[in-house]
Subunit: 210 residues, 2 copies
């Protein structure tokens, strides 16, 4: 019998194996990655320059399912909502990847296209460059924090005997709702979009920012 042929090493296979390690352990090392792929570390270096490139490959893989809206056919608020929701969905699946990604400069092309689209949506809203960067960052932070919340255990907080009734009442209101993270993300996003709407087009006293 012929031996099954070994899957060919590729950047896709490397990204997927690294993502599996990070999902499980919060981190990866090149020796662990080589072992998971049953190759030598030097084989890895035929495909990637090093750790930073692997992080960008994981970023691209995590973002690969994102569908960007057609900015010419919908209002900018809907565009931002669509992009942020796709982004949240992707990162909710890989919460332990998030701090690795946020600690590295974004160079992955797929991911940069997401930010291109966000920047264009906020430009359509009349936001000048500085406000645009602030708006992108605020959406980014809220999406990433909410993606971590989506990966939280069903019991997020366990109050104790000293906890206030204000907090206990709030916890009792909603503990068993499996749709909680998404509904809360959507509510917060709507609040931010309404606030952006009040700022757009940029007011006179922000003119120096534009």
């Amino acid at each position: 019998m012929a031996r099954p042929s070994k899957p060919k090493l590729s950047t896709t296979a490397i990204a997927e194996a690294a993502l599996n390690l990070v999902d499980a352990h919060g981190e990866f090392t090149l020796p662990q990655l080589a072992k998971a792929l049953s190759v030598s570390a030097s084989s890895l270096y035929n495909h990637v320059a090093g750790r930073d490139e692997i992080i960008e490959l994981m970023r691209g893989r995590a973002m690969s399912e994102i569908r960007l809206p057609d900015l010419r056919s919908i209002a900018w608020q809907e565009a931002v909502r669509d992009i942020a929701t796709e982004y949240w969905t992707s990162y909710s699946q890989h919460p332990r990847l998030i701090p690795l990604l946020t600690s590295h400069t974004v160079r992955d092309i797929t991911t940069l296209r997401v930010y291109d689209a966000l920047a264009e949506a906020f430009a359509l809203a009349g936001f000048g460059p500085k406000r645009r960067l602030q708006a992108i960052t605020i959406v980014d932070s809220f999406v990433l924090g909410s993606a971590l919340d989506a990966a939280a255990p069903a019991l997020v907080w366990e109050p104790n005997a000293e906890s206030s009734r204000y907090f206990k009442e709030a916890l009792d209101a909603d503990l068993s709702d499996s749709g909680r993270p998404r509904a809360t993300f959507e509510l917060g996003l709507s609040m931010l979009l309404a606030a952006f709407g009040q700022q757009a087009p940029a007011r006179a006293n922000d003119a120096e920012d534009c």
Copy 2:
């Protein structure tokens, strides 16, 4: 000469050593922790029941610098702003701890007091239990995402030849501003507080939530 006496093992020392490991590697194991403290794993078990308890100890340590406002002397918006800012400051120093914490039920007393205070502030705003929990979660998510942003490299995004001018203009506006993360966090927090202000007290059509 007498040998220097070995520092006594304590939950504080365990929390600090675990936090150092997580800051450096994004994770800790009990064998690594025992090695870092120059003790046996069984010595650790004389002080902590296991990994979950150590995570709660790290949470308490990261939150130990937080000063809570006197809710009777300031407006609820200022209370939420103060709590969220203290919380952001603490977590900005330990970005890699964040996904470990968000994936575990909060039981640490110091941390629960922070949520008690947030719950009380939103109760003072007239938010019923369900809205209160949503508001707490939205603030929590924005703080944690912004704390990750504060730990980002100075160059967050590196655009390429295909990047849109909307995005490049935005990046050019603000790249070298070391105060960017804090200013952006404060702007987003103000936007959320204004939106919460518009919701408080809860409107008639939200009555079923309260």
